[in-house]
Symmetry: C2
Subunit: 346 residues, 2 copies
DNA sequence: GTTGGCACTCTTCTTGGATGAGTGCTAATG
DNA sequence: CATTAGCACTCATCCAAGAAGAGTGCCAAC
């Protein structure tokens, strides 16, 4: 079984996918043979289709229906056949205009990016906040809420604010906390979280004696906070959008997907994986055994600031998706977000 | 038309609602007459039902179906017939245990409260962050992201962290911002936002001369921030839960509701209104012209800290809801959250 | 290799009758 | 006079059977 497809097979596969993408209906040999660019009779088309089905690129839902691309078919299409369009100038402008990005803080910016991705694509936007490990520390702040309860506010170089509650063993005054704040900010500002972590470790080891004094306690406090990766938060924007798609008109599918959005753990997992690749990443179908997102595809791209902080954003929609349009959209959104992050912070 | 219902009518209405609540099916005269506590023949029951229908408490979806309570019927039931149960000790314990509230910051606490409400009720949990006007100021922090971009971090007495980006006209150094921070924290900490606002106004009026110096700029900066009410954020938890209910098994209903959850504006509006009332508040059906949440009811209760800060939490579910169970649940959740907020901060 | 023709399959839509739940009305009953 | 039994009537739901339509696979002809 040669995996090399003939020119004709490729042409037909492409035609089928594009037709199916726009109609959502199984496509038959007659329809296809009428298509301009294909000068073959339905019978000939059928022969090719049968071949493609054997190779696993197509399948038919039942005997007397047309063919539908399989996930494998889509993957081949995206990898070899797809011609990515230019992002239309209108959309580009729309993206820049509609977004009053300037007025937003970073979290707002990311949320808004997801919302716009969702609105333009008509699918659901996903944005993941940068993981801590890839983040540059700008500022930390301790606020005493009660004697042994301290609110730690953490600000990254790109202006993302995270916070966490810490329960300390011995009571602290706000004055002590302020000192700790100053110490840590002077010491660590501008380092990456990883650097901060290792610095804390060495510092604490070196100065065992300091353990009881303020600096020691400050170190201890911040190490508590850094234990948990506060990043990796995922914003799901426009969940209702995706359900306009006819393939999700099924109740159980809808509920399953909605549950996945609610829980987010699977999304985090997938996005984390996609984040390891640069550029636009396309995950088609439940590549692994993720039945929760069966029938869905993910188009993602990393955004980043100049200091190496990277997060990821993208769109989740039906596998039957106009990739030629969605890919440049996601790509552009990622660069736009990157640019704004870079211009906002120094 | 006397609005006073006879003892028998009340009994039957109550029976119908309770039956319908548990089955979700229109209830007929035969079913009802078999019910213990009602010693009437189906025919007699029918007479009463016809009366109740005339009064607008019931309706039948079609001639040969049983009766279903109208919104008016439900309202009467909740107002006059309902016997609120005690919250079962198991649930109460469950609520206290499952929630590792202690480890959470305030935002996390509120989110978790919503999640648990959703999980126990099997509907969707709603939590609104306290409005600014009712909030006590604890701390403000300015972080310079770029020459003219300042991130303002705002912490309330109860440990809620809000932040916002401000674009300033003239460049500022972090040092200047730190001074402003100190000034504002000394000046305003512990005041309510309203007090802060008016203080700022008078201060700025009084010292026009100061306008150019640091204090003036700090005042200006904080007045920018306070212009927008950062509170009023709504967390929707367990959106997928509500769709397990058979009444939302309809696609268009589902999408409509989901869209409402996505946008949140209507939720904010409703919660805001409900917040003006103390104690458990029950909004049944689209009392006004809110067709988006047709068929839904809201059970809410305010939570508050000792300093007058109040937010609201609750559950949104189908109007056909076991109010006797949900009401004490929401009530208890609100007091629980209030207690934790009060114990956490001083 | 390509194509027209044809039998075959399978879904979808429609129709019509059977079923059953529940009502409203009326007349009988205590 | 309230209550009840009886009965005709209305509708939604279910099921089966048939017609229509789309598309296939295969074979023989070009």
């Amino acid at each position: 079984m040669s995996e090399e497809l003939s020119e004709r097979s490729r042409l037909i596969l492409q035609a089928i996918i594009e037709d199916y993408t726009s109609t959502g209906e199984p496509v038959g040999s007659r329809t296809l043979s009428r298509r301009i660019g294909i000068n073959l009779s339905p019978a000939s088309v059928r022969n090719v289709m049968a071949d493609l089905e054997d190779l696993g690129y197509l399948f038919s839902p039942h005997t007397s229906a047309g063919r539908i691309p399989t996930d494998k078919g889509y993957r081949f299409y995206v990898a070899s056949l797809l011609q990515v369009q230019q992002l239309s100038p209108e959309v580009r402008e729309h993206l820049q205009q509609e977004s009053n990005f300037r007025e937003l803080d970073t979290e707002g910016l990311l949320r808004e990016a997801g919302r716009i991705l969702s609105a333009i694509s008509n699918y659901t936007g996903l944005v993941m906040v940068p993981r801590f490990t890839s983040t540059v520390f700008r500022r930390i702040e301790f606020v005493r809420l009660a004697a042994t309860r301290v609110l730690v506010v953490f600000i990254t170089q790109t202006g993302i604010v995270q916070h966490k509650m810490v329960e300390v063993r011995e009571p602290l005054t706000q004055g002590e906390l302020d000192e700790a704040t100053n110490y840590l900010n002077q010491e660590f500002s501008g380092l990456s979280i990883q650097e901060v972590k290792s610095r804390i470790a060495t510092e604490m080891a070196r100065e065992q004696a300091l353990f009881d004094n303020l600096q020691g306690r400050a170190l201890l406090l911040s190490s508590y906070v850094l234990q948990h990766d506060l990043g990796g938060q995922v914003f799901v924007e426009g969940a209702s959008n995706i359900f306009e798609q006819p393939e999700f008109a099924d109740l159980s599918t809808m509920k399953r997907l909605l549950r996945t959005f609610d829980q987010k753990t699977l999304l985090v997992e997938l996005l984390d994986k996609a984040q390891q690749v640069e550029g636009v990443q396309i995950l088609i179908g439940s590549a692994d055994n993720h039945s929760e997102i069966e029938g869905c595809s993910l188009v993602t791209s990393c955004y980043s600031s100049h200091r190496g902080t990277t997060g990821i954003l993208g769109v989740i929609g039906p596998t039957r998706m106009p990739y030629a349009m969605v890919i440049p959209l996601v790509d552009y959104a990622a660069t736009l977000v990157s640019d704004i992050l870079n211009s906002e912070s120094e």
